[in-house]
């Protein structure tokens, strides 16, 4: 999971924000601490960021900061789960998840009228994977039970869901925080989903 880095100076040039803004957003937890990567250079220490993620995040902050306060924005962008319950028909009405995914969930877990944020998150993840066509319903069941059993242990921390396939047999795993994972050659990573990103997307959809 090698990621391209961008230096602080390049970042400010590219996005047109100032040092003051960057520090303010850091203070408000709009940019997570782990993204500030210190590296030794000839001028001493320099700060680098994961390029794609920071650019995406700054784009989002710039887009939204006119409409919402920085504190609300911080809540939206943090990987903490929201305490919100939505009714089943709202989920489809507001286009948060597809009807197919919802039907699948109901079929597996029985009738449900109200969905807590965790349930919505699981559903959202499944919906994304079904939509990409990379998994079938049978595999959806495995992922759902993995999420239900293991995800609560993450307690709102970020992490990744990996979906793997080897010689036609599929499996999945949850990895807490981003670290490097290497598999032998015949193991294929079919799908990799970053949970904090998904939580963020989902929060924006719900808000």
């Amino acid at each position: 999971m090698e990621q391209e880095l961008i230096s602080k100076k390049e970042l400010l040039e590219l996005t047109g924000i100032s040092y003051g803004q960057l520090y303010r957003w850091k203070r408000k937890n709009l940019i997570p601490e782990e993204w500030f990567i210190k590296k030794a250079t000839f001028t001493g220490q320099e700060t680098y960021f994961p390029k794609e993620r920071i650019l995406d995040r700054i784009g989002k902050i710039k887009d939204m900061k006119g409409d919402v306060s920085l504190d609300d924005l911080a809540d939206m962008l943090s990987p903490d789960l929201m305490k919100i319950v939505l009714e089943r028909k709202k989920l489809v009405e507001r286009n948060i998840v597809s009807k197919t995914a919802l039907d699948f969930y109901i079929q597996e877990r029985g009738e449900m009228e109200k969905f807590a944020f965790e349930n919505m998150l699981y559903l959202y993840i499944l919906d994304k994977m079904f939509e990409s066509g990379k998994i079938n319903f049978e595999e959806g069941k495995t992922i759902l039970s993995l999420l239900e059993e293991q995800y609560p242990k993450f307690k709102g921390k970020g992490g990744e869901l990996l979906f793997l396939r080897k010689l036609g047999i599929s499996s999945c795993c949850l990895v807490s925080n981003v670290c490097d994972v290497y598999f032998e050659e015949s193991m294929k990573i079919i799908e990799k989903m970053n949970l904090s990103d998904l939580i963020e997307e989902l929060k924006i959809k719900i808000a």
Partner: protein, 227 residues
């Protein structure tokens, strides 16, 4: 959250286990063995807290040490504060000295005195009026003003004396970054910002600015670079 159970008052010398309170007032010497969560914390004298502190307002007249983090809306310290964790406040006003082992976040941060912050000092408006050697690993913010107020500096005697033993600078930091920066008597490896003004006694290895740059004739620096 647990229910708040009224006030904690210590007059004289006593200790408490900590907990949730409305107001915590210590006149004399207090020891608190665990985390403290209150609306108002006022210390006249001395208090050691062996845990994290969360409060709306913190006022210290005297000395205060905290083993964990201090999180407050407003903090006023007249005297000394020693924080083993991180400091997160909206507005901090310090007359005296403060030591922080971790990082320090504030919207407004005013110091008259000295400080030692081991990690990043991150503040919106930062006004440091220094009366003695102070340190931070990194300083970042919107408006950063550092003034050296050394009392015994009338004939720049202190400068001459101290620089001979290599300790003449009031503020030492690795990196200082901000939109508006004014520095006096500061030693830093890198200073970056929009508008930078270096006053007397600055020793900066690398200066990078976007807008304007001014320097006192007594400032020593590598070549400033406009980017």
């Amino acid at each position: 959250m647990e229910k708040r159970i009224g006030d904690l008052k210590i007059n004289g010398q006593s200790s408490s286990a900590g907990g949730n309170y409305n107001a915590v007032i210590i006149n004399g010497e207090g020891k608190i063995a665990g985390d403290l969560d209150c609306i108002k914390l006022k210390i006249n004298g001395r208090c050691d807290i062996n845990g994290n502190v969360k409060a709306e307002s913190v006022e210290v007249y005297g000395s205060n040490s905290i083993k964990g983090n201090l999180e407050a809306e407003r903090a006023k310290i007249h005297g000394t504060a020693d924080i083993n964790g991180n400091l997160a406040v909206n507005k901090a006003e310090i007359h005296g000295s403060i030591d922080v082992e971790g990082y320090c976040n504030a919207e407004i941060f005013n110091i008259e005195g000295t400080f030692d912050i081991k990690e990043l000092l991150n503040a919106g408006v930062l006004k440091l009026s220094l009366y003695g050697p102070s340190k931070a690993r990194e300083i970042g913010g919107e408006k950063i003003t550092v003034q050296s107020k050394g009392k015994y500096d009338l004939l720049s005697l202190k400068d001459k004396l101290m620089s001979s033993i290599g300790q003449g600078k009031e503020l030492t930091a690795d990196i200082i970054e901000g939109d508006e920066i004014y520095l006096e008597n500061t030693q830093a490896k890198v200073v970056r910002g929009d508008n930078i003004e270096l006053g007397p006694g600055c020793e900066i290895e690398l200066v990078e600015y976007k807008g304007s740059f001014k320097q006192d004739e007594k400032a020593e620096l590598g070549t400033p670079k406009k980017i």
